[in-house]
């Protein structure tokens, strides 16, 4: 177990390094000069050079990269160009909002998608299931920003039930959360259905049924218990992906999370801030994945983590 954990943590570090490097290279390869955004208006070439020198952008790219890694190892992610303070701090200030939204969204998703998926599996090949099937396909066919706007128009502008944007009170979370949930429920419930259909048709269920086990018990204690690992994996993966930024939903609702931050940082070419955001969110997402994997032995005693690598 400790060995497994060590191996996974090492993988996490490697993946984080890989991501950071890709982002670093992309940022440096791109045309355009970030100094223009941070110099006084109509800058002279001396002023531009001074800004570049201040940010260390006048160094050769390889040198910049090595310095960056060196600082990273000391726990220093760099200073944001636009906020003139530690980029890490800027990201950490925004992070709670993204985490709140992601936790709320994944909880609601699980609560809705699991019963819906189980119901669809039990009612296979009925008109009701066909309807739910088409509805879930429709749910994943709508662009999320568009769902967001429609919800805004209906519930915030016309009915005025919820505040339209930003974070003013707890009810601000309802619309962004709902926007995410519509897509996620569609995706997750289909997965639950698929897993449940496989398990409900498995021989062990038939045998249990012949022994007189009730249908309710068959569904939940037998089939669902055996479907729980893929379902929890999917929920974990989706949660991790949300931490990487529910960018679009945050932009639509002006939710003050990291997604909105990174879009802004991209526009202003705030290199350290972009790198910090990507690093923090990727590490967080990887840790969530690791945590989910650690849950497996609790859900299924047959799983031992040493063997969990396929």
């Amino acid at each position: 177990m400790p060995r497994y954990l060590l191996k996974r943590l090492l993988q996490t570090v490697l993946t984080a390094w890989f991501t950071v490097t890709v982002v670093f290279v992309l940022l440096r390869m791109a045309p355009g000069d970030p100094a223009v955004n941070y110099a006084p208006p109509n800058p002279s070439s001396e002023q531009l050079a001074a800004v570049r020198h201040e940010f260390g952008l006048d160094q050769p790219v390889l040198g910049q990269y090595l310095t960056y890694l060196q600082h990273l190892l000391r726990g220093d992610i760099g200073e944001s160009f636009q906020f003139r303070q530690s980029a890490l701090q800027v990201v950490l200030d925004r992070l709670p909002y993204t985490i709140t939204l992601a936790v709320a969204a994944i909880a609601v998703t699980a609560l809705l998608a699991i019963p819906l998926g189980v119901w669809m599996a039990r009612r296979g090949n009925t008109a009701g299931e066909l309807g739910a099937n088409i509805a879930t396909i429709a749910g994943q066919s709508m662009p999320d920003f568009w769902i967001g706007f429609v919800l805004l128009i209906v519930f915030a502008v016309n009915l005025q039930w919820f505040p339209p944007s930003g974070f003013t009170s707890m009810s601000s979370i309802v619309l962004p959360c709902l926007t995410i949930v519509i897509l996620q429920v569609a995706l997750v419930s289909r997965l639950v259905r698929r897993e449940m259909v496989t398990n409900l048709n498995a021989p062990y269920v038939t045998i249990a049924r012949s022994r007189g086990v009730s249908e309710r018990r068959l569904t939940w204690r037998y089939a669902f218990a055996n479907s729980s690992i893929p379902v929890v994996t999917a929920l974990g993966t989706r949660f991790a992906a949300m931490l990487n930024g529910v960018v679009i939903v945050e932009v639509v609702f002006k939710w003050p999370g990291v997604g909105e931050l990174v879009v802004d940082a991209l526009e202003r070419r705030d290199f350290p801030l972009i790198q910090a955001t990507v690093l923090v969110t990727v590490v967080l997402a990887l840790l969530v994945q690791l945590l989910v994997d650690m849950l497996y032995p609790l859900m299924d005693p047959r799983v031992r983590l040493q063997e969990a690598r396929r």
């Binding site: 993946t15 890989f18 991501t19 890709v22 982002v23 992309l26 940022l27 390869m29 791109a30 045309p31 355009g32 296979g124 090949n125 009925t126 066909l130 099937n133 088409i134 396909i137 429709a138 994943q140 066919s141 709508m142 662009p143 999320d144 920003f145 568009w146 706007f149 429609v150 805004l152 128009i153 502008v157 992906a241 990487n244 930024g245 960018v247 679009i248 932009v251 639509v252 990174v262 879009v263 991209l266 526009e267 972009i274 990507v278 969110t281 990727v282 997402a285 990887l286």
Partner: protein
């Protein structure tokens, strides 16, 4: 009708009961899905394809006397925007860009995916290791962020956006093709081809790929839905093909400041166009997938 699973001639069960059986229902439902899907797709694609032929107002230059007209106004079926540009015309012309990008992207990602997946599955060894590691590495990247980064940095031309979407999408066909080829490789006909002295590339291209193509193509078709969504998301975030060349995401993005003033149609209607097309493609693909699977189950 597709009664592959239940052929009435070989059974003593009365047809009425047969029609109520699970297999027959399944076949019927996948047919319904395919037809509804084809209908939804057609409703969007046909007008978009005919956009240049249909008698439509100019999508770029508006008439300044006819600004912000609601839908069903005379001469403007879906209304106009604050610049007096006809919304229907903008959606149809924008659709050409969106669809072009989507089609090019899935062509590219399908090609890369099938070639890479087949190579990884058939050759195994280091080829498989390299391709599988690449797939895993890409999985760990925050996708939308990366796409946004590339487009924001390299400029939103049709070429860049197509490439970016194709690169985002190649893992899915690649993984499927690899899995299918792994199974196919062990079948007797491949051994026979090898005994006959055919080259490895020839075996892959002429013998294995035709056998798995139908399943792979369904997945590639489903990717078209994803590609259209991705393109609209990118142009919503300002990383789309530049205006005044309107794409669907761009039209919605333009309209977002305006719906507060009551011009709801500028946001709602282009979204319906996207949703209808994506729903159609998804239903079509889903129905086709059921059917391909059933055909495979019957023949093998």
């Amino acid at each position: 009708m597709s009664d592959l699973a239940v052929s009435p001639t070989r059974t003593a069960v009365p047809p009425k009961v047969l029609r109520r059986s699970a297999a027959a229902r399944k076949a019927r439902y996948s047919t319904i899905k395919m037809w509804v899907g084809a209908l939804c797709t057609g409703v969007v694609v046909v007008p978009v394809a005919l956009a240049r032929v249909l008698p439509l107002p100019d999508p770029v230059h508006g008439v300044l006397r006819e600004t912000s007209l609601p839908p069903l106004s005379p001469g403007h079926l879906l209304g106009t925007d604050p610049n007096g540009r006809d919304l229907l015309s903008r959606i149809l012309h924008g659709g050409q860009t969106s669809l072009l990008i989507g089609l090019l992207a899935i062509l590219l990602s399908g090609l890369i995916g099938i070639v890479a997946g087949a190579a990884a599955g058939y050759f195994g060894g280091w080829v498989d290791t390299v391709i599988s590691r690449l797939l895993e590495a890409q999985m760990s990247l925050p996708l939308l962020l990366m796409l946004l980064l590339v487009v924001a940095l390299f400029g939103p031309s049709i070429l860049v956006i197509t490439l970016v979407i194709a690169i985002a999408q190649w893992p899915e066909p690649a993984r499927l093709t690899r899995a299918l080829v792994l199974v196919e490789r062990e079948k007797p006909y491949v051994a026979a081809a090898r005994v006959l002295g055919l080259g490895r590339l020839r075996i892959i291209a002429r013998h294995i790929i035709p056998n798995i193509l139908s399943q792979t193509l369904v997945v590639v078709l489903l990717l078209l839905a994803q590609a259209v969504l991705l393109e609209s998301a990118l142009s919503f975030l300002g990383a789309g093909v530049q205006r005044p060349y309107p794409t669907w995401g761009g039209i919605i993005s333009d309209g977002r400041e305006l719906f507060v003033t009551g011009a709801w149609w500028l946001v709602t209607i282009p979204g319906v166009a996207i949703a209808l097309l994506v729903l159609g493609v998804n239903l079509l693909g889903d129905g086709l997938r059921d059917r391909v699977r059933r055909a495979k189950a019957v023949t093998s």
